[in-house]
């Protein structure tokens, strides 16, 4: 490294890295924990709301499911 005088580091370089036991956002198979997301890349109204989501789904199977938010 360079011959520059620097102070003692007061935090580990990799401090923001993963903490064991905390669920990771990129965890494989996470869609199981995300209601409203279907395994085939589609989603339902449950993605947006937990209140009567069924009645917000399309009325015909051929219609796209455009969840409100």
């Amino acid at each position: 490294m360079a011959d520059i005088e620097v102070g003692e580091p007061d935090v580990r370089l990799d401090a923001p890295a993963h903490t064991p036991g905390v669920r990771q956002g990129n965890h494989e198979g996470l869609h199981k924990r995300q209601p409203g997301h279907l395994p085939d890349d589609r989603s339902t109204a449950r993605r947006s709301t937990g209140i009567c989501p069924g009645s917000r789904n399309p009325i015909l199977p051929g219609m796209p499911n455009l969840s409100p938010a």
């Binding site: 011959d3 520059i4 370089l13 990129n26 494989e28 996470l30 890349d41 589609r42 455009l66």
Partner: protein, 601 residues
């Protein structure tokens, strides 16, 4: 090789027997006050004889990224810049996705493309109308070239029916800071386009919803409609702005014969490509040539008006980081991280993958010593053995030129013909449809770099319209997934190629033990602002300013250096929030600007 480099060194000016004045502009910057231009001017001959660009600030991202979780990389590197941070985040995602081997769902890529298109529109407009045009506004021209202003008063604007200004002088008056119409409209537009970016990326300029593997944006018809409404309003402005830009720059050529030589430089342009096509891209290095060529801004290197390559693998392997005038120790004795790329090609020791940053602070020595914290990135041309000092032409010039010559982009609103670019913008609330054409100029100079900027805003607007249509098609088909799972590998390498607003952007990443072992972002300004390398080849700013004729009517005593400033700013560096001018002989002129935020009301 040495011969070619020596030729360049031999072109260094002979400074003896000339009446030279040192004129320094330091700092010139928008972000962190770190760019200085030091010139020697021959006032009797009205020529800039020598120029050196220096930076007095060390950032050290490549030093402190080591050891961190690679998944944090885009959040950290976004902070490199206060105006194009989302370009860094996006580029970092591309590098991470290559390293993790994950391809996001198509909708995620469309959303990123939409956010980036909005960023290009935002940043270019803000820079052009609120910062560049201050150098061309009525008040400035009155001070530097009163004769030109008189002529502008008498010259009718050819595009008056499109932008509504009767004479060229009317346009220049609208550029006056804080009070001109164009200046104020551009500020309002920059709000609109930032909102567009926020809709897609959560936040501007440090996105909160971009992750490797996808985005966190909830894709609903509403979010795209909100984007579209703003895009249509922005297009009204863009159509007027292109016509206005053409009028002003055409007038400049006419009013100041010979101005085409200002900022002229050999055509050495680099573009790393932008806007991935989700139908083709898989973020795998081995297929990088295929998906690089499918990008909606084609990557390419243009040497002497010829397109040398559009292959991102060639572009990657040709990158060399040279030293010579920079405050660093060489890293030849340090570790080699990547000796072969995933295709088996050898990777040079001076390639960013193998770079180790070893800072060595020292006194600035502008007379043949080290004078900058910027390194000297070069591209090794295998055909000639030269290390080319590529520039980005401020970003848009290289992007449009490369896309135009490659002839690969075919979308309903933007098409590349092989010789030029056609942009069709539809009818919008207060303007009819517009058909724009851009062709490469005979050579790059100050005015053409600026002209390309507004054409690229139109390009990004046309592309954004196409991306909205594709994204909405995904949503309507029910494919609303925007995120793909992945695992961080124990060891991997990755590279991201993207365009920051002002030009080429690459992030090189090496992962070991699931942590970052080496990380090197190369944004456009190191390419443009690089100092002389160890061959003596000057960097692009130095090259463009050196040998330039001065058109300013002021003499030595009240010299503003407007032609030099126009040239440096045409590359879209970081602009001054205050300019200190030092005139040889001990006289210091300080000029500072206080932004009056209430001026719009």
């Amino acid at each position: 090789m040495a011969t070619a480099q020596n030729t360049h060194a031999a072109q260094q000016p002979d400074l003896t027997d000339r009446d030279l004045t040192d004129v320094a502009f330091d700092p010139i910057t928008r972000i962190i006050g770190n760019l200085g231009i030091y010139t020697k001017i021959d006032f009797p001959a009205r020529e800039v004889v020598e120029c050196r660009s220096t930076s007095s600030l060390f950032r050290g991202y490549s030093v402190f990224m080591k050891g961190k979780d690679p998944r944090d990389a885009h959040f950290i590197t976004s902070r490199i810049c206060g105006i194009c941070g989302d370009n860094h985040a996006t580029c970092s995602l591309y590098a991470q996705q290559m390293a993790y081997g994950v391809k996001p769902p198509p909708l995620a890529d469309w959303i990123i493309n939409l956010g980036e298109a909005a960023e290009f529109m935002f940043d270019h407009t803000l820079f052009q109308d609120n910062l560049v045009f201050v150098d061309y506004c009525e008040r400035m021209v009155k001070e530097t070239n009163p004769g030109v202003l008189e002529q502008a008063e008498r010259t009718p604007a050819p595009g008056a029916d499109q932008h509504g200004f009767r004479t060229i002088a009317d346009i220049l008056r609208s550029f006056n800071p804080f009070e001109g119409r164009t200046y104020k409209e551009a500020l309002q537009l920059s709000r609109l386009t930032r909102e567009m970016c926020c809709l897609m990326e959560g936040r501007h300029v440090h996105p909160s919803t971009l992750y490797p593997g996808g985005v966190g944006t909830v894709a609903t018809p509403q979010v795209f409609t909100d984007y579209l409404v703003r895009l249509m309003r922005a297009m009204d402005f863009v159509k007027r702005a292109v016509a206005m830009n053409d009028d002003v720059f055409d007038f400049w050529y006419e009013a100041l014969p010979g101005y085409d030589q200002v900022g002229r430089r050999r055509t050495l342009l680099g573009c790393w490509g932008s806007f991935q096509d989700p139908d083709v891209v898989d973020y795998d290095y081995r297929h990088m040539n295929d998906w690089g060529n499918a990008m909606f801004v084609t990557p390419g290197i243009i040497v002497d008006n010829e397109l040398v390559t559009t292959n991102l693998v060639d572009i990657n392997l040709g990158m060399r980081i040279l030293l010579g005038s920079s405050y660093y120790e060489d890293w030849t004795g340090e570790e080699t991280y990547v000796d072969k790329d995933p295709l088996g090609n050898p990777v040079d020791k001076r390639h960013p993958w193998n770079q180790t940053t070893v800072p060595k602070p020292q006194k600035r020595d502008l007379d043949g010593g080290k004078y900058s914290w910027v390194m000297s990135p070069r591209w090794y041309d295998e055909r000639t053995g030269d290390h080319l000092a590529l520039d980005t032409g401020g970003g848009p010039l290289a992007r449009l030129w490369s896309t135009a010559l490659a002839g690969k982009v075919r979308t309903p609103y933007v098409r590349s013909t092989g010789q030029g670019i056609e942009i069709d913008l539809p009818k919008t609330p207060s303007s009819p449809e517009a058909h724009l054409r851009w062709s490469p100029p005979p050579f790059p100079n100050t005015l053409e770099r600026n002209r390309a900027r507004m054409y690229f805003v139109a390009y990004a607007a046309g592309m954004a319209l196409y991306f909205v249509e594709r994204a909405l098609a995904e949503v309507r088909a029910g494919r609303t997934k925007v995120f793909e799972d992945f695992k961080v590998p124990k060891e991997a390498i990755g590279v991201g190629f993207h365009e920051a607003v002002r030009g080429v952007l690459s992030h090189h990443l090496v992962i070991r033990d699931r942590k970052i072992a080496n990380y090197h972002p190369y944004p456009p300004t190191p390419w443009n602002a690089s100092p002389r390398d160890h061959f003596g080849t000057p960097g692009p700013y130095e090259d463009a300013v050196q040998g330039m004729t001065i058109f300013e009517e002021n003499g030595r005593e009240d010299f503003k250096g407007i032609d030099i400033m126009r040239t440096v700013r045409s590359f879209d560096p970081c602009l001054p929030c205050g300019v200190h001018m030092y005139l040889g002989g001990g006289r210091t002129v300080t000029q500072s600007h206080a932004p009056t935020l209430g001026a719009l009301a």
